[in-house]
């Protein structure tokens, strides 16, 4: 059975991973290569790396950074940001990327989506849509010009999949960096409109948000950025919590099966006796 995916978004600005808040504020987190290495060891299902500088400055993707970052990445890596020509995609594939994501091109030059899908297959092409909630309903948001467009996200998603996008990443700008949970209504609308896998993004605070988006929508994957950077044990404990009620991949040695969480889903301290016993448990490293 296909599992729901718990993915991580790594937002890179000027070569540094940043925390993004509402697309307005950016605080530094660390180096992309290290972030990806850690996410891998925590058993993340997939990583989406978005280079927001490349698009803003109209330059090519930072191939060196991606090459470095992908060295320790043994899960699928989607790369977005600054991709404007087919040769960019070819080079990215040679640098360790598995899929490419289009946001600006989807709005202004969507022809490249059809071209990319034709050459590389639709399974390689992700269309990334930012959406805001207005008085008239949800609308697509162009982050580069900070303009709210007239297009509705669900309709836009359908157009892009008709052109060849194999996955849709739907991101709520309002929820971005707020820890107020995924925009369920928005995600449902998009899932209802398309027949490709949908990745939910924007607002995840803890395992409950992941649970909610998987139980209340048809999203195939849900991604978070800040939550995974700043909450301890967040990847594995989220998966452990989700695994109680749905099919999730949990293959790390640590599985938090007997862990206790508080009402905010932060890990509770184990008793001193249990901790004492754990000191003498030998954990064998998996030799492959």
């Amino acid at each position: 059975m296909l599992k729901k995916r718990v993915a991580a978004t790594v937002v890179v600005r000027d070569g540094i991973v940043v925390q993004s808040i509402g697309f307005k504020k950016y605080l530094p987190v660390g180096k992309p290569a290290i972030t990806i290495e850690f996410l891998n060891s925590w058993g993340i299902d997939e990583i989406i790396l978005l280079d927001i500088t490349a698009t803003a400055k109209c330059i090519s993707p930072d191939f060196d950074m991606i090459r470095q970052a992908s060295k320790k990445c043994y899960v699928p890596l989607t790369v977005g940001g600054g991709i404007t020509k087919i040769s960019d995609i070819e080079e990215l594939m040679h640098c360790g990327a598995d899929k490419v994501s289009f946001n600006q091109q989807a709005i202004h030059r969507s022809g490249i989506i059809a071209e990319a899908a034709h050459l590389f297959g639709d399974q390689c092409v992700v269309a990334s849509i930012d959406a805001v909630k207005t008085a008239e309903g949800y609308r697509v948001y162009d982050y580069l010009t900070a303009k709210v467009l007239a297009t509705q996200p669900a309709e836009f998603a359908k157009q892009l999949t008709d052109m060849g996008a194999g996955e849709i990443l739907i991101n709520s700008v309002d929820r971005d960096g707020t820890y107020t949970g995924y925009d369920i209504e928005l995600i449902k609308m998009v899932c209802n409109e398309v027949n490709v896998p949908v990745i939910a993004s924007g607002g995840a605070k803890n395992a409950m948000d992941f649970k909610q988006v998987f139980q209340q929508t048809n999203a195939s994957a849900a991604t978070a950025a800040n939550f995974f950077h700043f909450s301890e044990h967040s990847v594995i404990s989220t998966k452990a919590e989700l695994k109680k009620e749905m099919d999730i991949r949990l293959e790390t040695h640590a599985n938090y099966a007997e862990a206790c969480f508080n009402e905010n889903f932060r890990l509770n301290k184990k008793t001193d006796q249990v901790l004492g016993e754990m000191l003498f448990v030998k954990i064998e490293k998996d030799i492959i």
């Binding site: 599992k3 090459r67 996955e167 991949r249 998996d286």
Partner: protein
């Protein structure tokens, strides 16, 4: 084989770097990403990666004159080869993506678009369990139902005797094809973390 000479066939389309990363992690030092005829001829094992549309990959392979060489090395000399994703699909007789195209015809079968019950999205993307039909050295130390990462809209349809492992996604999908020295996997072992690395290890150990 403990330290084989491995060639990752580079025909311009394929995530060769990702495959190399995984093999480097496993400690394989005699690794080349190349389309050089001499190196392919001398390799102990070959990997045929593939990311892209069937036809584009097939043309790229043929444009580099690789088909006759690979036919000789793989079919006549029985060199072990592992095809990944489109690399696996190229081993079929024909592919139906954007028209009907000739594959390498190493394992009889047709690559068709996934036709799934309603509610199942295409492409088949994500982690799914793989059940192997019988114990082969390829699945050494890999449990039944281990998760691997799939990402495809087309599937290799073939006779049961070549389907070494399957996966469920509305229908039964061929996850691994095998015929003597030829192995093809639909999923991406280089992107399936521990399970994927174990598969690479088992493949090279078995040659």
């Amino acid at each position: 084989m403990i330290d084989p000479k491995i060639v990752i066939v580079d025909y311009g389309l394929g995530n060769t770097h990702s495959v190399a990363n995984a093999l480097n992690y496993l400690g394989y030092k005699k690794l080349q990403i190349t389309a050089d005829f001499k190196l392919i001829e001398c390799a102990d094992a070959l990997i045929l990666p593939g990311v892209g549309a069937f036809e584009t990959c097939a043309s790229n392979l043929r444009a580099r004159g690789l088909e006759p060489l690979l036919n000789d090395v793989v079919l006549r000399q029985k060199r072990p080869i592992l095809g990944i994703c489109v690399g696996m699909q190229l081993m079929a007789t024909t592919g139906e993506e954007n028209g009907i195209h000739q594959g390498l015809n190493w394992i009889p079968g047709v690559v068709k678009r996934l036709e799934l019950p309603a509610n199942y999205s295409v492409p088949h993307v994500g982690w799914n369990n793989v059940e192997y039909a019988s114990r082969s050295p390829l699945f050494d130390r890999i449990e039944q139902g281990a998760n691997y990462y799939f990402d495809h809209s087309y599937t290799f349809v073939c006779d049961e005797q070549y389907a070494a492992a399957t996966s469920e996604y509305g229908i039964s999908i061929v996850a691994v094809v095998q015929h003597e020295n030829i192995v093809g996997v639909q999923f991406h072992p280089e992107k399936s973390q521990v399970n994927g690395l174990k598969l690479f290890r088992s493949f090279f150990n078995s040659i």
